[in-house]
């Protein structure tokens, strides 16, 4: 992998529209039982403007952005040798249905040690007003060819 790619940024990309249907589908997939993921009325009763996303929903949006890094030939990630090493979400506010989210992904670090390369990306999610929504940090480990 090319360590000179550190500091590179991709985006902003085309906005992602958060829908009630997608939030419900994701909530079903991770066994998040709250009605606030499924009913506007239940979400309002808990103080949200609309159906609210589960904690890790931001990955749906962030992984699309990270794909731009993984597929950049100048970064040099062999996707068939990738393992997810770590993940972190920092939420500046909850994501709700109706949000239009725009992403920019930054290559924060690339390191190489003992046949394993690690690439850390940071994806910044902002809303239609440009206000921060979530920061998603992800590290992929790539095993070098033997």
């Amino acid at each position: 992998m090319n360590t000179e790619a550190v500091g590179r940024a991709y985006g902003p990309h085309e906005p992602y529209e958060v829908t009630r249907v997608k939030i419900r589908e994701f909530a079903d997939a991770v066994d998040a039982y709250s009605f606030a993921h499924r009913s506007e009325e239940a979400a309002r009763a808990e103080g949200y403007a609309d159906v609210v996303a589960p904690t890790t929903f931001a990955v749906v949006i962030a992984q699309q952005a990270e794909f731009h890094v993984v597929t950049d030939p100048e970064v040099g990630v062999d996707f068939s040798r990738v393992v997810h090493a770590d993940e972190r979400f920092t939420h500046h506010r909850p994501i709700v249905a109706g949000d239009l989210i725009t992403t920019t992904v930054h290559v924060d670090a690339i390191s190489q040690r003992g046949g394993i390369s690690m690439v850390t990306t940071r994806t910044e999610l902002v809303d239609a007003d440009g206000a921060p929504v979530s920061t998603v940090r992800s590290t992929l480990a790539v095993r070098e060819e033997a």
């Binding site: 997608k22 589908e25 994701f26 079903d28 997939a29 991770v30 066994d31 998040a32 039982y33 709250s34 606030a36 993921h37 009763a45 808990e46 103080g47 949200y48 609210v52 996303a53 589960p54 904690t55 890790t56 990955v59 749906v60 992984q63 699309q64 068939s80 040798r81 393992v83 997810h84 090493a85 770590d86 993940e87 972190r88 979400f89 920092t90 939420h91 506010r93 909850p94 940090r137």
Partner: protein
Amino acid sequence: MTAENRPSFEGLEVGEVVASRTVELNRDTLVRYAGASGDFNPIHYNDVVAESVGLPGVIAHGMLTMGTAASVVEEWSGPGNVVDYQTRFSRPIPVPNPGAATVAITAKVGALDAEARTARIDIAVEFDGQKVLGKAQAVVVCA
């Protein structure tokens, strides 16, 4: 933003278990998560591909494990109240076919910040007697 559904900070004690759940992951669960998340890496549904890259077979998405663990925390904290959530993926969870992988999730109070009124929830996720997530921590804003 309102605080109408936040858990109470008063009375929380470090070490206290706030929620726990046992989850069965099977191939259906994995396909459902692939569709919902958009992560269609074939190592999560195709044994031939998984074995060709040195895995014992199909494994669960790390993000499925992380997301399901968050749902256990949320059962106590209410939705929308986790402001920070991190983990390392220490071990893969092989998912048999037919059958299921049984995963035990326990969320307990790891630290309390009285000034910020936040609780750090430490989550243990075990499969086959071993932890599959490292340093899984969720920071929850409380009332």
